[in-house]
Amino acid sequence: MKRRWIAATALAAAVTLLSACSGQSDGASGEKVTLTYANWSEDQTPAMQQIADEFQKANPDITIKVQTLPWTEYWTTLQVGAAGGTAPDAFWMLADHFREYAKGGQLVDMSDTVKANNIDLSVYPKAVSDSYTYDGKLFALPKDFDTNGIWYNKALFDAAGVKYPDDTWTWQDAQDAAKKLTDPAKGVFGIAAPIDAQGGFYNTILQAGGSIINADGTASDFGSPAGVEGLKFWTDLQAAKASPTLEQLSDTEAVSMFENQKVAMYFSGAYWALRFHNNAALKGKVDVAPLPQGVKRATVTSGIGNAGYAGSKHPEQLKKFLAFLGGSKAAEIQAATGTVLPAYKGTQQPWLDSMPEYKLQVFIDATDYSVPLPVAGNASEWQGLATQYLGPAWSGKKPVADAAKEYQTAVDQVLAKK
């Protein structure tokens, strides 16, 4: 524990020193200020830097320092920094962490900025901008968004003589294909079936006609018949041994299994596109299709938001930068570099063009039937319960309905706390 405190304190001290240095240069030239902009993705840093450069061109008085923290440290650093007054000025936010920050008054209210800059909020997917709204106020402009699809390995499909997935696929088609594609002799599995909420069971529960958290965020619905159906989609695949076991997927993440060509299908988000595109071993072997439909079509959607720190020393400049981050120029840079699917409507074509080998339109079309990622209450707390409670169902040690009920009870207990 001591070590963590020291690390946190040292970090805070380092950040203070940094801001002290930039503070000096402020004084020297009168109006020049430096803003930090934090993210957690090495992959996206070049695009973030390009956006910062573009902003600086138009605003020579403001210097933007792009700061990349490892994912493992990002949230602790942000939390300690925000509490201690040393957080970055601008930073990426996620819907499931957002509420604690908004509730705690740590984020810049963007409502005035939106009005002053005539920002048209209808350019963003409503599901994403809604997830950054708290108490009727908008605290982050959507940066990007993602929906889910079936990433599949064409070479493995060809080898097994299975037709590629397309928009006619039902659950049954997916289950059958997964079994046919599985080849224990070669160590190949039809699909990766981890206990994955966003790319996995949330979607199937919705497809079964169920819901995840009720509208007022007071209770979950995992134990309902549709909830159990949605979970069974995955446990059936585990039972049929058409997926690596949970232990295998703990040691080697599903996405790595897919990249190593050990699984033929991986249900997940648009955000992997660039990684697969850059992987030479996967050249010409990968494509994407819509998620199969159950009772209906559905996918959860979410996106990163660009938020500002309420304790920033340069609130005016910060708002200017945040407005720029939410604008079309920043979106175009993200799209043209193939970095992510930008949230800004009409800027997505360059992203599609940057990786023409994939049917990326699938992810944009999916917005028609997308549902916001549920984030009620203390989301990081109840989300952490999934593996613990659903694990026995995945490994076949407990009937799915029982595990789902226990999971629901545990989640509801967290939701009941304030």
């Binding site: 001591k2 070590r3 705690g104 740590q106 981890p194 232990e247 295998q248 703990s250 990081s380 707390e381």
Partner: protein, 309 residues
């Protein structure tokens, strides 16, 4: 050889020269930076932690006083007891590293030339980032492609998912913990060994004692103050283990994590993931108490086995 020759060197006793007042002020001035650092980085956070443990502290915003609620909840929290058992087991395993270190230290002492090379080799993990160590061992323990299972398969043993199956995780941590601690232990014990006068060994050899007998009758008893010190350090370090848990069970939803949390991991999760900083603080205070009790107990027990000259 006379008995006086085998007499062990004594510590200098008696008072040092008195410190005069001006010197005292100088001394204070010199220790001030360290003292201020200690107050700001240790004492203040410590006091804050104790206060927080009696409060409900959200991620941001005002805390509310809840009395001993956090502690009551903690004592009834099966997760905490699980973490407590995990940390206790890990500590027990890491303690096995002490006899290993004693044996190795004695062996290295026998090496004439190149002693330093061995010390450096064993010391390397100590100066390596725990995060890097965790990453490397994660690969070694990988159930499908890991080095360990590959080696086991050569001798016909079925591999396991060492860091994905909760039956094995703590032991997997323990092995790494022993390896990580070996370097420091060897340095301390090595220093202790060089302090044992050669004359004692010569005398016992004349009396007909063999190597093994010398080890158990001379080396271990005369090394006991160092062994005690190393044991105390190992227990404290092991009870504070966090890095290996954090790094080796990372990855999306590790199946073993729920059953494999150590006390400090639980603290981290409560305070920094779930935003329950008051509850986290209570865990930290309880851990401090556990460490204090464990250490006090060892100081008690040492009277019966540690041999001071």
């Amino acid at each position: 050889m006379t008995s006086s020759a085998t007499k062990l060197p004594r510590r200098p006793s008696g008072r040092r020269g008195g410190v005069s007042a001006p010197n005292g002020w100088w001394a204070l001035a010199f220790i001030a930076p360290a003292t201020i650092g200690l107050l700001a980085l240790y004492v203040w956070p410590f006091l804050r932690t104790v206060v927080d443990s009696f409060q409900d502290v959200p991620a941001f915003g005002p805390a509310t006083w809840v009395g001993t609620d956090n502690y009551t909840a903690l004592l009834h929290d099966p997760e905490f007891w699980q973490a407590f058992r995990n940390s206790a087991l890990y500590t027990a395993i890491v303690l096995l590293g002490v006899p290993i270190a004693i044996a190795l230290a004695a062996l290295i002492e026998q090496v004439g030339r190149g002693r330093a090379i061995y010390r450096v080799l064993f010391f390397l993990p100590v100066v390596t980032l725990p995060v890097a160590i965790g990453m490397v061992w994660r690969f070694i323990y990988n159930g499908d492609f890991g080095l360990l299972n590959t080696v086991l398969s050569w001798v016909g043993v079925d591999g396991q998912y060492w860091v994905a199956d909760p039956r094995f995780t703590i032991y997997a941590f323990g092995v790494v913990g022993i390896w990580m601690g070996l370097g420091i232990n060897l340095i301390i014990l090595g220093a202790g060994l060089t302090a044992i006068p050669k004359a004692v060994y010569e005398a016992s050899a004349l009396d007909g004692a063999g190597r093994v007998r010398q080890f158990f009758r001379i080396t271990v008893p005369l090394l006991s103050p160092s062994i005690f010190f190393v044991t105390v350090l190992s227990v404290i370090g092991a009870l504070q283990m966090f890095d290996l848990n954090f790094i080796m069970l990372r990855g999306v939803n590790n199946t073993a994590l729920a059953d494999s949390k150590t006390i400090v991991y639980l603290f981290y999760e409560k305070a920094f993931v779930q935003f329950h900083q008051g509850y986290g603080a209570a865990i930290a205070v309880v851990l401090l108490l556990v460490i204090m009790i464990a250490t006090a107990l060892q100081f008690r027990l040492q009277r019966s086995w540690v041999f001071y000259d």
